[in-house]
Symmetry: C2
Subunit: 187 residues, 2 copies
DNA sequence: CGTTCAGTTGACTAAGGTCAATTCCCGTGG
DNA sequence: CCACGGGAATTGACCTTAGTCAACTGAACG
């Protein structure tokens, strides 16, 4: 059983034939460090599953400043789901920040799948729901102060601080790199 | 055709029988100003459709401070979708802030529906996706400064400032009521 | 008319940003 | 093995934004 199949099986109770059908749709993709998976202005028409490596998703605001909005780790889906769903140009960049191996579905393939059976529809629904729960929690965290957000990251995701340079963490938390450094020093 | 049916028809191409089936599952609910639809600690097992009135969703942080995370307007769905989906206790309050009329589905009814046909699964998926797009945009906005968030609200949703008291707007924006007042004065 | 609660205003304070200088780390070429 | 060059992190001085608290205004409603 592949990593993708393991992951999927935890979400929906697919039978062997269904898993095969999904696996047959996937294509492989290799990204080197700093390669883009998606550039601002493109429409995202893929959903990726990250096998190994590390990916960042950034957003460019109206002042042309780039903010990290998400890190993606192996065994999770990588996509600009908003662009994907609404078929609109992405305002995000998605970029490998270490050499990465992925597999992906493209949109047409996925939509065909959805129309094929209840289980596949259910799968699509559950993917959305998972994404959604993650984002909803993010919104709640934004009501915290930067310092609280940093402390929460420390307890929930300490390994992130080892694997990602500090200025990227700062961007993710929405604070300046200098201030993050000062926060860390204060301990 | 009811408002709900109109709304649904814009999402999925249901036939008459399907729409009837959905409508038959709904129950009516009236909330007076300040009545709760959901209290912290409860599991949300309903999805409501707001017919008239105004609803707020708030979140109580670890310092026991209450923050508004969403306003709901007529012809939209009202639920703590996270609690609903993951079957966990909500950390949110959902409360009418004017007299409101709603109809709702409960979870069991909806799940039965989902298993009935592809179109209903699709409906569930699309509901999630819509919710999701809304939340994703919220996350991007949190990278802006409070002032920028206020200005964005002004241009995108000016009527909100008429219908909702200012201290609630401040809570929604994540700033103090005094500071919002000062921002407004500076124009 | 008082009460009450939302909104405003001002003085003060604290959190966090900005800029610049410095140091640290690490890879690369000699 | 060393020198140096560049990006990341730290530190300090200074500034801006926003929070806090308290006093005041103002409208709404009995």
């Amino acid at each position: 059983m592949t990593e993708l199949e393991k992951y999927l099986s935890r979400i929906v109770n697919f039978d062997k034939a269904e898993l095969d059908e999904i696996s047959n749709l996937t294509k492989e993709l290799t990204l080197n460090n700093k390669d883009f998976f998606l550039k601002e202005g493109q429409i995202c028409n893929k959903i990726c599953f990250l096998l190994e490596g590390l990916i960042e998703m950034t957003y460019i605001d109206e002042n042309l400043e780039e903010h990290i909005i998400e890190f993606f780790f192996p065994n999770s889906f990588v996509t600009d789901y908003v662009s994907f769903l609404s078929n609109t140009k992405s305002d995000c960049n998605i970029r490998a920040i270490s050499n990465s191996k992925l597999i992906y579905f493209d949109k047409d393939a996925l939509n065909k799948l959805y129309d094929k059976s209840l289980n596949f529809q259910k799968f699509g629904r559950l993917i959305s729901e998972r994404y959604f729960v993650g984002f909803a929690n993010r919104i709640k965290k934004t009501k915290l102060t930067p310092k609280q957000r940093y402390e929460m990251l420390l307890t929930e995701n300490p390994e992130l601080l080892q694997t990602v340079p500090q200025y990227k963490i700062a961007s993710y938390l929405g604070i300046s790199a200098e201030w993050l450094s000062k926060l860390r020093g204060k301990k």
